[in-house]
């Protein structure tokens, strides 16, 4: 049987640094076969969890990106209308009866599987990632509830399709909209925040091994100070990694004012933020510099 430590090992072998709390949540979600709802600020690796899970479990990742206006047709199935039309035209010549027509064009051949239908028809349990579920509409959310509790989908023309295997479901959200109580109750909950200094350094070292040791420490210190500032868009771990990658490619081994102000665009994506940070750069550097000397 799998243990929490196994999960941790599996995830870290895919270069994803998990702390115990995250590992336990993933473990429970697999064991209890319950969906895991992950919330947290942008760029802390919510989506990444599903990707790494799929790799670690050696199974397929099926991803449904939610957006406003997403409906059942895009999430579950859709008939291939163009092909149906062509087929109808072909059948016309053969004088087919209505029943034949019906049968012919509403068959599996014309059915386009969308992520949710695809996910329940896999031979091996896949990881189903329902990304940014808070961007979808209320209607879709209640629709999702049905699927998550019964694991079956009804297509009027064909009948009910029962899940062959139950997928591991990961839902992510940025809290753009408050999710319904009902959906929350179906799920286990995990909140991922920005990592602390040590964890971020670990992530950095495992993801960007090329980065200089001292530089890594400086980067993480700088990011920590940066996140303490009041910014429009606080940079996440993804930005840290991009930055480290960029600095490593350019063969820098330490941070200084010039390097930072030249590469600020990698970590800050808002012009006002860039202006604010550029203005207080010396002060920021001083704070990170002192800290790294003590550390």
């Amino acid at each position: 049987m799998m243990t929490v430590e196994d999960i941790q090992r599996m995830m870290s072998s895919e270069a994803y640094v998990v702390d115990k709390a995250i590992a336990i949540s993933i473990f429970l979600s697999i064991q209890l076969q319950k969906p895991l709802l992950i919330e947290g600020p942008a760029g802390v690796g919510k989506t990444e969890i599903a990707k790494v899970m799929a790799k670690a479990l050696d199974t397929e990742l099926i991803r449904l990106q939610c957006y406003e206006g997403l409906d059942a047709n895009h999430a579950i199935y859709e008939w291939h209308y163009q092909r149906q039309l062509l087929h109808l035209k072909m059948l016309e010549r053969e004088d087919a009866t209505r029943q034949d027509l019906d049968k012919a064009i509403f068959s599996e051949d014309f059915l386009m599987e969308r992520p949710l239908l695809q996910a329940i028809r896999q031979p091996k349990s896949p990881v189903l990632l329902i990304d940014e579920v808070d961007r979808s509409d209320e209607e879709f959310e209640s629709f999702l509830l049905e699927l998550l509790s019964d694991w079956q989908i009804t297509i009027p023309e064909i009948g009910t399709i029962k899940a062959t295997t139950q997928p591991y479901v990961i839902l992510t959200g940025n809290r753009t909209r408050e999710l319904s109580e009902a959906l929350r109750r179906r799920c286990l909950y995990l909140w991922i925040d920005y990592p602390d200094f040590d964890k971020e350094l670990m992530i950095l070292r495992s993801k960007v091994p090329a980065v200089d040791k001292e530089l890594g420490v400086q980067i993480c210190n700088f990011m920590k100070e940066l996140r303490a500032m009041k910014l429009e868009k606080t940079p996440g771990v993804a930005e840290t990694l991009d930055w480290a990658e960029a600095l490593a490619t350019m063969h820098f081994d330490h941070l200084d004012k010039e390097v930072i102000s030249d590469t600020l665009g990698v970590i800050l994506k808002d012009w006002q933020d860039i202006r604010t940070v550029s203005n207080s750069l010396s002060e920021l550097l001083e704070r990170t510099g002192v800290r790294s000397k003590i550390g």
Binding site: M1, E39, E68, N73, E138, R177, E178, R185
Partner: protein, 377 residues
Amino acid sequence: MDSLITRQTSLSGNVILLGRYLRSKGYNISSSEESDAMRSLSVINLKSEYQYWNTLRAVFSKNKYQYENFEDHYKSYQHEMKKAVDSKVKTLSGDKKKPVKSKTPSIEALKSWLYNQPQTDEVQMSSFSNVEVLVKKDFAQMDQDEMRLILQVLRELAAKILRKKSRSKKISRRHSQIDLRQTLRQNLRSGTDINDIVWSEKKIKKLKLVLLCDVSRSMDLYSRFFIQMIYAFHKGSDRIETFVFSTALHQVTDLLTHHDYDQALDKISKRVPQWSGGTKIGTCLDRFFSDHGHHMLDRKTVTIILSDGWDTGEESLMKDAMKSIYKSSRKVLWLNPLAGHPDFEPEVIGLKNVLPYINGLHAAHNLVSLKKVLALL
């Protein structure tokens, strides 16, 4: 039946006790969560306490707030359990700290603080273009002409925001885009020829708003402006409900939709005898929820409360009312003009209590900050 505080020796007993304790802290825990918890505990290593409470956290908490406070609750529960001598009767309510008695909010003090604000900050910026100055100017310091200008801008902004194009489609008579799904279905009845084409277009998403505006004395400098703003909003949409409150709640939607502004304001002040009086936010919000909440609030409605949070009523009432409102709306925004002051902290006890039940606390004391709020709708 054992009393609540009886120390349980069995694991299941403990989980249920903790569940009960957390329920008193606002967690939604039903028997299904408890059975999930038991199932989870059967698959983890029970020797590690860290794993134990982390497991329970994953199962019991359902949002960020609960997730982050779980450790504290768990610890205080443990603490409580240590104090409980085996099966002695005690009530758990001892743990609930008596809420600190709020200092009587001195409205006068607040007002003098408001008036004493240096008015020169914005004036010194005259080298900027006029607009630049105006958008940063506090609403309370504006004269009639400036106000009129601002309202003009707001009306345009409101019209845009209140009618967004949705990405969902609806069937349309206009020939914009073919809806293949419907076209095929319609024509299948008549055979294989395509005779009718069904068109679709994007739905217009009208925003549903509920505005609750505080017109008590502490808000005097701003409430008149906000009423004007709401008036501008009403011109842009028919899906807005407006209430004003001080010591009692009054629905004024009908007044704002029909009359011209001066008349409307006149009628409102007639209808609201306590204009510029004291505040009983809790009572009013509670009243709103019980009388109107069920048919006005749904998951598509944004509730906006304009108030400084100075409540002279009971604290828990305001908190409970906010909780109910928060649960049934899509978003709850609290606009507090005083929040624009650099030294502002949500010190007012009432406000502090409701922070978990609002999506955002915003200043909205000048056009720049108001614009930010509108973008959130």
